[in-house]
């Protein structure tokens, strides 16, 4: 037993000095390998964290959003729908919301405008997201103006900038009073953009949605769980695109590894022959080469994963923002909550370390089962 451990130690020692002997080649290999792991891990960590984040944000969203449909299109909801829907068991709160989008040609970006009465804003005040503040270069106390539906321009004083912690969803947000909203968009009194309902028991949500569609046939209830699913599929879809691109990179890497290994240099082949001739078993040679592969792939994996972790959670995933958050012009600057998923790590490990080891060990195995008498020539 102790012999076995010692033997492995000797093999590992040999492996390490072997790696050092071919420093240039092995460093190059390590670099390419690390880069691949870094890219894959970044995407995985990033999309996963983003999904988590979106999920968390939506957790506080209302369970049901009720939209009125006219000719198949989303239309304003008359305020009396709140009474018309009657009392529904399980609904703890219902109210009309006012929101919309505003295109600002000066920064070529869409803002999300929302009424937030809870903040007690006067008709002349707004609260803006940090993305807008950055894009326009304004701060608290400065003025921001919007061109209203009728051509007039309204100026508002910035009362507050939304806390950057929640920036992912609030970057392009403008909160204003109801009066300011109606004046800007021309939405008449007595109408809302939609109606939101809070339901305490999630199992009652579907039942309530059914009742709503019956009592108010021209409305469409949107459930939070459905939104969560849509978010999920959007993120998956984007992740999918990037993965397709990366599949190419991985393939290139496998070919590279294969080439590196099957193009086992004459010198390496001779070395395997020498080792066998002086008394190493085929299994010893394989074990040694296995350690070699393991050292390279494990260090690449760890290095790649750690740098991806730093990139995503401390560097705001700078490299991927354009691809993965492509729809927003006002890029949020945010810190994602660090999150590691064991299954994800295992998947990544399997797809990077495993192919490498297979790709390198097969040609070595071929070289090491041949008779060692070739070294005598």
């Amino acid at each position: 037993m102790i012999d076995l451990i010692r033997k492995q130690r000797y093999l590992i020692d040999f492996t390490l000095s072997s790696l050092l002997r071919r420093k240039g080649k092995n460093l190059g290999l390590l670099l390419v390998y690390t880069l691949i792991v870094f890219m894959l891990a970044s995407i995985m960590l990033f999309t996963h964290a983003l999904r988590q984040e979106a999920g968390m944000v939506l957790q506080s969203a209302p369970e049901i959003i009720l939209q009125r449909m006219v000719a198949g299109r989303h239309a304003l909801v008359p305020a009396d729908y709140l009474e018309k829907m009657g009392s529904l068991r399980g609904v703890t709160d219902k109210k009309g919301r006012l929101w919309g989008y505003f295109y600002d040609p000066t920064v070529k970006a869409n803002y999300t405008m929302m009424v937030d009465e809870a903040r007690g804003l006067t008709a002349m005040e707004v609260v803006i997201g940090a993305g807008i503040a950055r894009a326009k270069g304004i701060g608290i106390g400065d003025y921001i103006s919007f061109r209203a539906y009728d051509g007039d321009a309204f100026s508002f004083q910035v009362k507050e900038i939304i806390n950057p912690v929640t920036e992912l969803v609030s970057s392009d947000l403008v909160l204003m009073s109801e009066r300011a909203y109606r004046a800007t968009f021309g939405v008449p009194d007595g109408y809302f953009t939609d109606i939101v309902l809070k339901v305490r028991n999630p199992r009652e949500v579907r039942k309530i949605a059914e009742k709503l569609s019956m009592r108010l046939p021209d409305t469409r209830p949107i459930l939070r769980e459905e939104i969560l699913r849509t978010y999920d599929s959007i993120f998956s879809w984007r992740q999918g695109i990037v993965f397709v691109l990366l599949a190419g990179a991985i393939l290139a890497f496998v070919i590279f590894a294969w080439d590196k290994a099957s193009g086992l240099s004459a010198e390496e082949k001779r070395e395997i022959g020498i080792l066998k001739a002086v008394g190493w078993e085929t299994a010893d040679v394989l074990r040694m080469k296995f350690w070699e592969g393991a050292v390279i792939s494990l260090s690449a994996f760890i290095l790649g994963y750690l740098s991806a972790y730093a990139h995503v959670f401390y560097g705001s995933a700078t490299l991927f923002e354009p691809v993965l958050k492509g729809w927003a012009v006002l890029y949020p600057e945010f810190q994602l909550t660090p999150f590691i998923d064991g299954l994800q790590v295992a998947t990544l490990f399997f797809f990077t370390v495993f192919p490498y080891i297979v790709a390198t060990i097969i040609p070595i195995w071929k070289a090491s089962i041949t008779d060692p008498d070739a070294v005598m020539r």
């Binding site: 071919r22 080792l275 001739a277 085929t282």
Partner: protein, 225 residues
């Protein structure tokens, strides 16, 4: 341990158009504690025969026995084990592993045995000391001269304390003086009880008084005299 070869034949590329019988029926006994030299022109099959005796390759037909044991039919693992404990090899091109130190090269054959490290290094240093190489122990092998490289190869061949030393054209890369020195070392090894088998077409080797027996080969057969 007595080595006995019975009607050994070896074909390369058997069954293919370029089939070639390098050894065509050799029967031979190799005595213990003696220095035996296989002599013959280049291409006569010396290396091929030597590698079969040293368990580096297998005969196509015929029987090799090592003491009581028959080698033919043994699985690779056992052959390796026999090779490791019975034979030490000195190759024509020395075959040291480049980029590694002299000490590492000498200890290499012992790595798979998992010996105690302190004891192993001590053994290695004892050998290096004996062959006047202590000062080179930490050097990479590329720095060695031909004679030194040869001596390192001998140390490596001896590290597992084998009964038999196998040397293929050991003097091919040495000048006459170094070749004679090498034969001196062989003499010393014989005295210490080792069996030595050398191939050579160098008169310094086969005419040396150190050699007890010369066996001549030609075209894969022994030349009877």
């Amino acid at each position: 341990m007595l080595i006995e070869l019975t009607d050994i034949k070896k074909a390369f590329n058997q069954g293919k158009p370029n089939e070639f019988w390098a050894i065509r029926g050799v029967s031979l006994r190799i005595e213990q504690h003696k220095v035996t030299c296989l002599k013959g022109s280049s291409g006569s099959g010396k290396t091929t025969l030597l590698s079969m005796i040293g368990c580096l390759s297998r005969p196509t037909s015929g029987r090799i026995t090592l003491g009581e044991r028959r080698l033919s039919g043994l699985p690779e693992r056992f052959l390796t084990d026999i090779r490791r404990h019975t034979f030490g090899f000195i190759f024509q091109k020395f075959n040291l592993i480049q980029g590694m130190s002299v000490l590492e090269n000498v200890m290499l054959p012992a790595y798979p045995l998992g010996l105690n490290y302190t004891r192993l290094t001590k053994d290695a240093y004892r050998l290096l000391d004996h062959f006047n190489l202590t000062s080179k122990a930490e050097n990479p092998v590329e720095w060695l001269s031909g004679g030194e490289a040869q001596r390192v190869a001998i140390c490596r061949a001896l590290i597992n304390d084998p009964e038999m030393l196998i040397a293929d054209e050991p003097t091919a890369n040495l000048d006459t003086r170094l070749s004679e020195e090498f034969m001196g070392l062989i003499d010393e090894l014989r005295r210490s009880g080792k069996t030595v088998l050398i191939t050579s077409h160098d008169p310094v080797v086969f005419d040396s008084p150190v050699v007890d027996r010369v066996i001549e080969m030609c075209d894969g057969l022994l030349v009877e005299r």
